[in-house]
Amino acid sequence: MNFDFSQEQIQFADALHRWANQDYQFEQRKHIIQSASGTSDDAWAALTELGALALPVPEDQGGFNGSAVDMLVLMQELGRALVVEPYFATVFAAEFLKLAKAHFDILEQVAAGQTKLAAALYEAQSRHEAYDIKTTVTANADGYVLNGKKTVVIHGAQADQLIVSARAGGDQLAAKGIMLFLVDARSPGVSRRDYRTLDGMRAADISFDQVQLPAIALLGREDGGADLLDAALDYGITLLCAEAVGIMEATIAATLEYLKTRQQFGVPIGKFQVLQHRMADMYMEMEQARSMATLAAVKQSSANVQERRRTVSAAKVRVGQAARLIGQQAVQLHGGMGVTNELPVAHMFKRLTMIELSLGDTDHHLARFIAQSDFAAA
């Protein structure tokens, strides 16, 4: 048993870290957020050059075939720097293609940094339930026709290609009848409404009005949509957990620094025992979250689907709990400065909050954890 990262992983993390420290500092990030597109071509080029886009892509498509643990290392670094580029959106969506073993051309473009992707899964009524789909798909002579609306699609307007879930039949919440498609974002009938999100990113509401798709747009088997969706979501969640752990590290470091320098009543406020113990609580939360984020990454490759599901849901729960406590308390310990937009801590808090709400919140994943058959099999 061995928890160490490999030499390659450490070097990769170091390279990302150097880039972010140099070219993605707090002020630079602020300008990117305020820009019209909300993303940076320079940053994208840098991430491509560093191999971040190639990392998760299979070797045959020009990638490094990186494991979930490789991605853990990477996402922690991006978390630390609060990167707002459409990286997560792209690699999460790319996972659908990898799992479906299809559209190798797109994967090649992803690896080369030439294409951005986004996954358009959730709808106005679905809340955390990805199976809750009203968007419809019907087969026709040319392939499929898509109708419906997706909401809060992260970096949906910045994407060139979209992964879209739709329902060919079955009840609104059923696993049966779910199908997944690759859709060119510029297809006739696709309209996107771009907006900011509170964590400095972008999202879009996307309408599909009689969008004609070719037959090859279908990902995987006709009856395999739910399993594919489930597996890709678990991958996405694992990435978010890793990102959150990176943010927690940065948050705790920033708060410690503040406690050591900020003076009140003639002493650094870090000398007050109540604040010390609060920090100890935050530290313990982070370590427990790190353990689960690590386990989730390791179990991504498990052949046992039950085990993957329960571990990933457990990780999302534990990371979500830690994210909330660490985010809120970091702000509290920063006092007035913590509630301004001027220090990184507020931005860390906001991103941690939004991660908690993304791809299923804590209660959603507690329920999913309980629903796995291991739970009651005592």
């Binding site: 106005a124 509170l198 009140q264 301004t340 709400l357």
Partner: protein, 396 residues
Amino acid sequence: MDLNYSAEDLAFRDQVRAYLDTHLPSDLQHKVLHHLRLSKDDYVRWHRILAKQGWVAPGWPVEYGGPGWSATQRHIFEEECARAGTPAILPFGVNMVAPVLMAFGNEEQKAHYLPRILSCEDWWCQGYSEPGSGSDLASLKTRAERHGDHYIVNGQKTWTTLAQHADMIFCLVRTDPDARKQEGISFLLIDMKTPGITVRPIIMLDEDHEVNEVFFDNVKVPVSNLIGTENKGWTYAKYLLGHERTNIAAVGRAKRELQFLKRVAGKQQKRGLSLLADPVFAHKVAALEIEIMALEITVLRVISQDSGKPGPEASLLKIKGTEIQQDLTELMVEAVGPYALPFDPAYLEGEQAHSVTEQDDAAPLASYYFNFRKTSIYGGSNEIQKNIITQMILGL
């Protein structure tokens, strides 16, 4: 023991309720009920409506224009305003500088300022906090040097709420730098239009412009603007801090927001059911509702024992009140889940009638949650409040 309102109190409640039904402008009410941001004009408009009715300063003695209400009536009035969704009457004039003026101001000061506070002719802001002072208020550094019939003020205040709209600021300044910390402080009224004053916005984490830094660069202030005695300002400051803090618990608003939470959760789905019918979520809401019920009684107990000056029990009310407010906003965000992510300042500011995502209930909730993180920090952080309970009530 008798926890029923008297017939007189009930009649008063009905009177207030009827008045608010007819006089609260629906656009203001809409903004408050939907967590949208209020403009300067919104605040002023509501202030003047209440002033016309003689109800804008419930805590003032009748001689200065107060309505002459009992503590219970004041509580009822606050409850009804919260229930209806009125804008707040900002405390800086009515509840902060005014009591100090009444207690320590001279006749000219009272005659000049108090009517202008009632009519909102002057918008006041508070110059207490400084960078680096935080919870240790008395460590303030802003300097006022006496030069004949005026002071020259140099220094900086911060966290100055809505100073961008203000006509006047009341300030704690250091007039004797050699005296011990709490001594050598004076209480000055300063016209915000005086040359040398600069207001710099501080943007909050929800990107709202609510507070400011205020810089004083050789600002000339007439000695006639000094309250009471030079170097005795700390006494007045403490008097102000101890004044009128029962509504700090904001139970009325909490009750209104609880209903909002239930309404929003009732519309959201979890696995095909209304979220409010989900046992796990319902248990959280119920526990919070019970906490609010308890705090309402605790507040009434404090009011009923009130000798006019709130004691250290105010710290309990502040802690529990802010915890409840924060828990409410937290559950609101939980309720709407991913629909909390979009950030739509144009809708928040009232520039657009609907949110970009068309989820108007959900759109402001994350901002609201982020905004409310300040409540456990300002007005004496909750940690400071616990220190007060520890020392003043528990004697540790």
